[in-house]
Symmetry: C2
Subunit: 191 residues, 2 copies
Amino acid sequence: MEDLKKTIRSFTHVSDSDMEYGLKFYKKKIIKKGAYLLKPGGYISDFYFMKQGCVSYYTIEDGTAQVMEFFTEGYFFTDLYPYIQEIQSESYLEALEDSIVYSISKKDVEKVFDHSHQLERFGRLSMQRTFVINFQRINQLRNLSNQERYLQLLEKRPTLFQRVPQYLIASYLGLTPVGLSKIRKRLSEGR
Amino acid sequence: MEDLKKTIRSFTHVSDSDMEYGLKFYKKKIIKKGAYLLKPGGYISDFYFMKQGCVSYYTIEDGTAQVMEFFTEGYFFTDLYPYIQEIQSESYLEALEDSIVYSISKKDVEKVFDHSHQLERFGRLSMQRTFVINFQRINQLRNLSNQERYLQLLEKRPTLFQRVPQYLIASYLGLTPVGLSKIRKRLSEGR
DNA sequence: GATTCTTATTAAACTAGTTTAATAAATATC
DNA sequence: GATATTTATTAAACTAGTTTAATAAGAATC
């Protein structure tokens, strides 16, 4: 769990004893390609850290997948809204590759935060980080064209395009496979 | 500062002594309509609580305002990204009405969080709340049509339409004044 | 209360996407 | 390596927005 430890410490100082206390609640979990961590109607009570692999986070709207996010190495993730509210989820968490995650239950997260002020701070700061990412996402959705968002994704997460089928990337960008194909054509013609 | 106290306690339990410690750092501030709490190039070091009034949060892109949010009664707000990163802001915080806010400096927030585990928890939970709001915003931007988003805003924050000019609401919804006008026409014709 | 300034609507031409369907290319399976 | 299946591209018709410009309506000011 070295990279989990490293990632936590990239947020804030955590003493060895607090770290040891926190990490002992994490469990290693292997998910085969095509398997689900979560399906609609299920309850999500775990928080995950992606050690290796790729999980897509999506809902089905009118019969087609709406991809919210691709979680890859180093991501903390869960389906936060139902996780917080303790209600049924409406989303899927599906492995797009054989993946390894570390999981911790909500109860244990709370235990850890109660026990360690330092780790509660990590919790706050990682939430803050997530805020910033979402905030930038909103600005991108509002201020950039689909073409610009495609180019930005290509720049920021180039490996995604080797790992994930294009129609899922189209969905992530908020358009249809046909729409993305048109954009790519337009770009290849230098317009 | 009763409503500030009440709002904080709606997140988590805070003892009287911790609350008293925290609240003493807040300063009351009155902003006249048209005045700014923040302009591009400025540094934002305060966190605000809106006691009464309305502040618009926007950037200027290609000469027109892009409204991110309208902060009204009960909102905690700042320009979080530059606040966290301690970099220059690119945004405006402008009072659309005479407003009363309570402000606390970043240094004092940190002092409060150091002193009180309970208030650090409030910080984490309010960040979590903000996450959820932003998350829902992203889903709305992705999955709803402009018309649906207009109707949803009308339902959730009806008073906004009496307080704020329509072209700013258009901007908030991510469209032009002409576009919003068309949507309203379409709806009034029952389509 | 007339004038000025701001805000909202309408019209017309345009654009970047959509949908549906057909085809082509790539990948997996027997 | 042929066949079936999945994924990507292309075409054509359509749609919900855009831009620019003119007009109308409302609010503020003298």
